[in-house]
């Protein structure tokens, strides 16, 4: 696809533990297009987090190719991987991973600082994305004073800051109640469609299927049909 923003080709990942070699990913090929929300489902130990880490340029594959925002990524160069993460990928974590000492606004600003945006520009952009996720009135709140859904919205705002073309989310609804989880999923859908962003959501949550354009299943390090995966679940 021409509008692919994230893709892997024949990716394998082997972890060596002593003399044992564990092949976690066995030749994965998949794409995420701009404006597409893809759900990646699989049981524990299936390799979905490893795949997410490779697609997020955090882990390097043992073999295969990775492309982010249309550019191939040289997986051996840590600085290059870091640069791709800074410029092209936003992360949303299951545990939110907010900085507890920073307010909502500062959490987003700090992320922008890491991405090389500072001063007034960072402040304005942080305010914009927090307003975008509906937290314009919670700028000065510390994470401890926010609800789970609000924390996840701050995490999403942090991931959106700097407008990366790719958003990767790891179990974003796992710690949220049903209603809040649904709101967050709607937000992901909106972010994919309205801002032409590629969104990959790793999840156990069947409700993600409601908003996903495509469901990809993974089992024992291989992709399986998403519906088959659903049936297995």
């Amino acid at each position: 696809m021409n509008d692919t923003v994230l893709g892997v080709r024949d990716v394998t990942k082997v972890f060596a533990e002593g003399r044992q070699r564990v092949e976690v990913l066995k030749g994965i090929t998949m794409d995420v297009a701009a404006g597409e929300l893809v759900a990646l489902e699989g049981p524990s130990g299936s390799g979905k987090t490893t795949l997410l880490s490779i697609m997020g340029c955090i882990l390097t594959p043992s073999s295969g190719e990775l492309a982010v925002a249309g550019r191939p990524v040289r997986s051996s160069d840590e600085a290059a991987l870091r640069e791709v993460r800074r410029q092209s990928i936003g992360f949303v974590f299951q545990q939110y991973n907010l900085f507890p000492a920073l307010t909502a606004l500062e959490n987003v600003e700090y992320s922008l600082n890491v991405r090389g945006v500072s001063g007034r520009a960072a402040y304005v952009e942080a305010k914009r994305v927090l307003a975008r996720v509906g937290l314009g009135d919670r700028l000065g709140f510390l994470p401890r004073d926010l609800s789970g859904g609000q924390k996840q919205r701050v995490a999403i705002a942090r991931a959106l800051a700097g407008s990366p073309p790719v958003l990767l989310a790891d179990e974003p609804t796992a710690n949220l109640d049903t209603a809040t989880g649904a709101q967050i999923l709607d937000l992901f859908q909106e972010l994919a469609k309205a801002e032409d962003r590629g969104v990959l959501v790793v999840t156990h949550d069947p409700k993600v299927r409601r908003v996903a354009d495509r469901v990809v299943g993974i089992r024992d390090g291989r992709l399986v049909d998403g519906d088959e995966e659903k049936a297995a679940a």
């Binding site: 880490s53 997020g56 955090i58 992360f91 974590f93 991973n97 000492a101 890491v114």
Partner: protein
């Protein structure tokens, strides 16, 4: 820029207080101990610094100004004959025994000159006048003597080596390194008290003529007085200080104290920063995951160390400077100069940054993939 370092540091207030207290303690320990040391050393050369002599003639190998040795007083005549010398006078410095009203005997360090005023000795006269020392058996006694001798007043009499002297005035700041009180009396009176002093002196004070070449005069004096040492004021002060530093183990003791102070500071700062780094490991993982480098995390730890250093130093210095008047009341001179404080500040910063290095290795090994672990 949002300072994650500062925010994290102030977020955990208890740890911050412990870190800063550790630094402040180390700074106070070093400042007060070294200040006391410098104050003591200052006492060892206080008369050298205040007497306006350019050169001191001593007997060979005199270790310090208090432990004077005798030589013929005619040496002063040779000194006066050297071109470039505008004035030269004998000075006697000698330990003598003083009898107290309660019957006890104590030591006194006698300074005796013919003309005190010409040599700025004593330099801080509180009561009376050095000119009064010419009026019979008279002496000026330093106020610090009250600690050793008990209270005394002008007009009272004290017996030194069997001779009754009248206290005609008091001085201040004239205390020797050995804590033996200094008393000032006329040169001839001092010679009369001790047989070895008759016809002898312990020092010759030399003042140079304006424009005279100190080195040339010093060389000529050495040539004419081959059995004496001729030292500039600075050389003599350094020799006196070095004697106490080296022969008493004071220098070693001070070095150990400073080392311990620095060690305490490093251990406390390193321990608290390391614990903090370990507790924030997931945050640092997040920083790396969103594109931050190891250097970005080193900067966080370095900034925290720097903040602890600055605030800890400020508190430590404040406490040390505030303690000075209190310690002065018990006659302990804590000598703190801005230059030395600046050196301690630089040392504190280095100490804290050094302590932060301990955590660098830990955070450099953080795997950003840990952000996906619950």
């Amino acid at each position: 820029m949002v300072s994650l370092a500062r925010k994290n540091l102030f977020h955990d207030r208890l740890r911050f207080v412990i870190t800063v207290a550790g630094v402040a303690f180390a700074v106070t320990l070093v400042l007060v101990q070294v200040g006391l040391f410098m104050g003591l050393l200052d006492k060892s050369t206080v008369t050298i610094q205040h007497a306006n002599a350019d050169l001191w003639i001593t007997s060979h190998n005199t270790p310090n100004v208090d432990f004077a040795r005798t030589f013929p007083e005619t040496a002063v005549l040779r000194a006066r004959s050297v071109p470039g010398v505008t004035r030269a006078d004998n000075l006697i410095v000698a330990f003598m025994t003083i009898q107290l009203p309660n019957g006890a005997a104590e030591g006194a360090l006698v300074y005796a000159l013919e003309d005190f005023a010409s040599w700025n000795l004593p330099w801080n006269v509180q009561q009376g006048s050095p000119a009064d020392l010419k009026r019979g058996y008279a002496l000026l006694m330093d106020r610090s003597a009250a600690l050793r001798y008990g209270a005394f007043a002008v007009g009272e009499q004290r017996e030194i080596l069997g001779r009754r002297f009248r206290i005609v005035g008091t001085t201040a700041e004239a205390a020797s390194f050995t804590t033996t009180p200094i008393v000032f009396m006329d040169y001839r009176n001092a010679q009369e008290l001790q047989e070895p002093l008759r016809g002898n002196t312990t020092y010759v004070l030399v003042r140079l003529a304006p424009g005279a070449d100190a080195r040339a005069v010093q060389t000529e004096l050495r040539r004419r007085l081959p059995y004496n040492d001729v030292l500039t004021r600075e050389e003599w002060a350094l020799q006196s200080r070095n004697y106490w530093v080296k022969s008493t183990g004071l220098g070693m003791s001070m070095g150990v104290t400073v080392f311990l102070g620095i060690l305490v500071g490093i251990v406390i700062v390193a321990q608290t920063l390391y614990t903090s780094a370990v507790e924030h490991i997931k945050e640092f993982g997040t920083v790396k995951a969103i594109g931050g480098s190891n250097f970005a995390i080193y900067r966080i730890l370095g900034e925290q160390a720097l903040i602890a250093a600055v605030i800890g130093f400020a508190l430590g210095a404040l406490f040390s400077y505030a303690a000075r008047p209190l310690m002065a009341e018990i006659h302990l001179n804590v000598l703190l100069s801005p230059a030395f404080s600046a050196v301690v500040f630089a040392g504190t910063v280095l100490m804290c940054l050094g302590a932060a290095l301990v955590s660098f290795r830990r955070v450099s090994a953080i795997d950003p993939a840990l952000v996906f672990r619950t």
